[in-house]
């Protein structure tokens, strides 16, 4: 190889590496990729359902999923966000941990204009040749959605927030037939929104296209969420196999997963949300190592080192070719 060609190749490699570093450090996004894989390794310790900040999650390699506004159907909204996703399993259950930035903790739905923070994960119900539309699935290829809401978490942590909590000074003489559910029709109809005795902050839902999202018969997804220092961390947990009609997961198999985030402070709800496309979720039999592992900053440091070394070599090559 001639020295000028060698110099050109080296310079291209240098430029590519420099670009990668800039993109990584600047948190800049390229087009969202279908090839990003979220790997759920086997947890090396018990995964506690009530603590999304537990140390066991250090063993789960995070991926950054880019989200963008939902602009396909009215009502449109949401915007660019990034969700950090992690996953683990223990051969019985799948655990998904999502983390995203949100400046405010919006937990109430008690007044006319309050909306709650929320996050959801979506899986195809059945694995097939083709992946369902990430927009709530297709009529022939439904999706299973697990949605966590801050308001439901608050109900569990602090107790059901009722009208007396929202308006402590309101005075009402009497409420006739107070104990009869029929006067609370949503409760009477079995709508999980109207529950006063929640056991999980996560709703289990099914959909087969826009406008068809429906609560499933079985509310079988556990989880918990905690807001800390301007970020939410929300944990979802469900049995790998919950029977016919819901997404199933197996070790050494892959499926697809998508994420959505709502910011209550911005009146986001329903289609007004930030969504990812489908990514790949693989359940690996590898044991996660929560004792250590390489952190993102370490990767960045190594990349900078490599780039600097390559740059130095390229500069030296250029000087040599100049001397010749």
């Amino acid at each position: 190889m001639q020295s000028t060609t060698r110099w050109t190749v080296t310079a291209i490699i240098f430029a590519a590496l420099a670009t990668a570093i800039v993109l990584t450090l600047g948190d800049m996004r390229l087009a969202s990729s279908q090839t990003v894989t979220l790997v759920a390794k086997q947890a090396d310790a018990e995964v506690p359902l009530d603590d999304p900040f537990d140390g066991v999650w250090k063993g789960a390699g995070p991926i950054e999923a880019p989200l963008s506004g939902q602009l396909v159907i009215q009502p449109k909204g949401g915007g660019d966000r990034t969700v950090t996703a992690r996953a683990l399993h223990d051969n019985d259950r799948l655990y998904v941990l999502l983390e995203w930035q949100d400046d405010t903790e919006d937990l109430l739905v008690s007044s006319q204009t309050e909306f709650t923070d929320a996050v959801a994960v979506q899986f195809p119900v059945s694995e097939g040749e083709s992946v369902p539309s990430f927009c709530m699935g297709d009529p022939t290829a439904p999706v299973n959605v697990w949605q966590w809401k801050g308001a439901w978490q608050n109900d569990i942590d602090e107790g059901y927030v009722g009208i007396d909590d929202a308006y402590p000074n309101a005075l009402v003489d009497t409420y006739p037939f107070e104990d009869e559910d029929v006067f609370y029709p949503a409760r009477s109809a079995g709508n999980i929104f109207a529950q006063t005795d929640r056991t999980t902050p996560v709703d289990n839902l099914l959909a087969g296209s826009f406008g068809t999202l429906t609560q499933a018969d079985d509310q079988i997804v556990d989880g918990s969420g905690e807001w800390r220092d301007g970020s939410w961390r929300v944990l979802f947990a469900r049995d790998l196999d919950s029977g016919e009609g819901y997404s199933r997961f197996s070790v050494n198999e892959s499926t697809n997963v998508a994420f959505a985030v709502w910011d209550g402070a911005k009146n986001e709800r329903n289609g007004i949300k930030s969504v990812s496309q489908f990514l790949t979720l693989t359940l690996s039999d590898e044991i996660a190592d929560s004792g250590g592992g390489i952190e993102v900053w370490q990767i960045a440091l190594i990349a900078i080192g490599v780039a600097a070394l390559t740059g130095a070599l390229a500069f030296r090559g250029w000087q040599r070719s100049k001397q010749q």
Partner: protein
């Protein structure tokens, strides 16, 4: 967006869903001229449907004093302003050509659906009322309009017909059970539906997820969020009565609670027949007669585009520009016909609040001339005709004459209470 025909606008308009119609449509006529704002309708509704926790602020029926009152506050002024912003100066009617399918001419402005097309982010323009706007349901009760820009002063010659200088009137409001409901189009979950048998619009309490898009995009603000069940509720059109399944009805359709309890006899409610996407000609259905034949009762803010199904006989003392904005260009004819009623109209007006049973058909038996007078320079004669109302099964349910007669209480009953 689909193209649907809105006869109140006399043209096709954009709507999220394909055109579809029920077999019959819930409809009512409210005669504003007769209302005394006793709020008996309001309390009848409240004590039937919204007395539980989380429904405190819900007034599915309310009576507000116009021009200042409104529940939630200024709901209509806000909507009109939004329409105006979307299409400045464009909310105009062309009433030069009127027909059976365009009785008020053609509306050339934008509806709430069309005004949303500019951004395309929403199905309709709208807003979510604040907590404060849902307080004081009868704020500005009986507050009249005086000279513009001079607070606290009223005209000393305020009450001269045809238009009073100092005026207010009562506007009675329930859900309009619209033909093209803003709430139905707004719901991203398709949790709101229009019943095929009677056109009553209901929120599925199992499907609703409390997003409040219906609250935002119902221009009449008759969908309301209930914080105790975390979902929205709305006027149910007293459907067990209307469908005749309430034990009280004996199996035949019965008027809603707010209609049946009306002290001022201002309300008449029923079901009109729908064929080929429009009201089927049903000449002797009192609602068809009042709304489509005589055109004495008009829709509320037809320009919103939802084809509302509560119709109002406009108050005859109120300045016409205000009424035209509120009820469209049919106002002048409606007031003229109400002020000089035909023999048939006078007879049909007697049916209001004479029976709880929904009247599907009427007949009139001619009576004697009982009085003659002059109205606006024209001779007007009153005949003591008798009108007979029939229920769904064509059984007679009411018989009433124009001249009610005078009954003097006998001496023996004086001060007997």
């Amino acid at each position: 967006m689909a193209k649907v025909y809105n006869w109140q606008l006399g043209r096709e308009m954009d709507y999220r869903l394909e055109e579809a119609h029920p077999d019959r449509q819930f409809a009512a006529v409210f005669n504003i001229n007769r209302c005394i704002a006793c709020q008996t309708c309001t309390m009848a509704c409240k004590s039937t449907w919204t007395f539980s926790r989380g429904q405190e602020y819900m007034w599915w029926n309310n009576v507000e004093s116009k021009p200042y009152g409104g529940y939630p506050h200024h709901w209509d002024v806000k909507l009109l302003e939004m329409l105006e912003k979307a299409n400045p100066g464009g909310q105009k009617w062309d009433s030069s050509q009127r027909g059976d399918r365009s009785p008020y001419g053609t509306y050339n402005g934008q509806t709430i659906f069309e005004a949303a097309a500019a951004t395309g982010d929403e199905n309709a323009i709208g807003y979510l009322p604040t907590e404060e706007e849902w307080t004081g349901p009868n704020l500005y009760e009986d507050t009249p309009k005086g000279p513009a820009g001079v607070p606290g002063v009223y005209h000393t010659d305020g009450a001269q017909l045809p238009e009073h200088n100092t005026w207010f009137f009562y506007l009675q409001r329930i859900c309009n059970h619209c033909t093209y409901p803003g709430c139905v189009s707004a719901c991203p979950r398709n949790a709101i539906y229009k019943r095929p048998e009677d056109g009553i619009v209901l929120i599925d309490q199992e499907r609703c997820r409390g997003y409040r898009k219906c609250v935002e995009q119902c221009p009449y603000k008759k969908a309301m969020y209930r914080p105790t069940t975390r979902v929205s509720e709305k006027c149910v059109g007293c459907y067990p009565r209307v469908e005749g399944s309430d034990p009280l009805t004996n199996g035949v359709p019965m008027e809603t609670r707010c209609v049946a309890t009306c002290v001022g006899k201002i309300r008449l409610q029923g079901l009109v027949k729908i064929e080929n996407g429009d009201w089927a000609e049903d000449r002797f259905n009192p609602l068809y007669y009042l709304i489509r034949q005589e055109r004495v009762a008009l829709p509320l803010y037809p320009q919103f585009g939802t084809e509302p199904n509560i119709y109002y006989i406009p108050p005859r003392w109120v300045p016409r520009p205000y009424l035209r904005q509120m009820f469209g260009p049919g106002v002048d004819d409606a007031i003229e016909r109400y002020t000089n009623p035909s023999r048939e109209l006078l007879a049909v007006l007697q049916l209001f609040r004479t029976t709880q049973t929904i009247i599907f058909r009427y007949e009139i038996e001619d009576g004697e001339l009982v009085s003659e007078t002059e109205i606006n320079g024209r001779t007007w004669q009153m005949y003591n005709d008798t009108i007979i109302g029939f229920d769904r099964d064509d059984n007679e349910v009411v018989r009433v004459s124009v001249d009610e007669g005078i009954i003097e209480r006998g001496q023996q009953y004086q001060n007997s209470i």
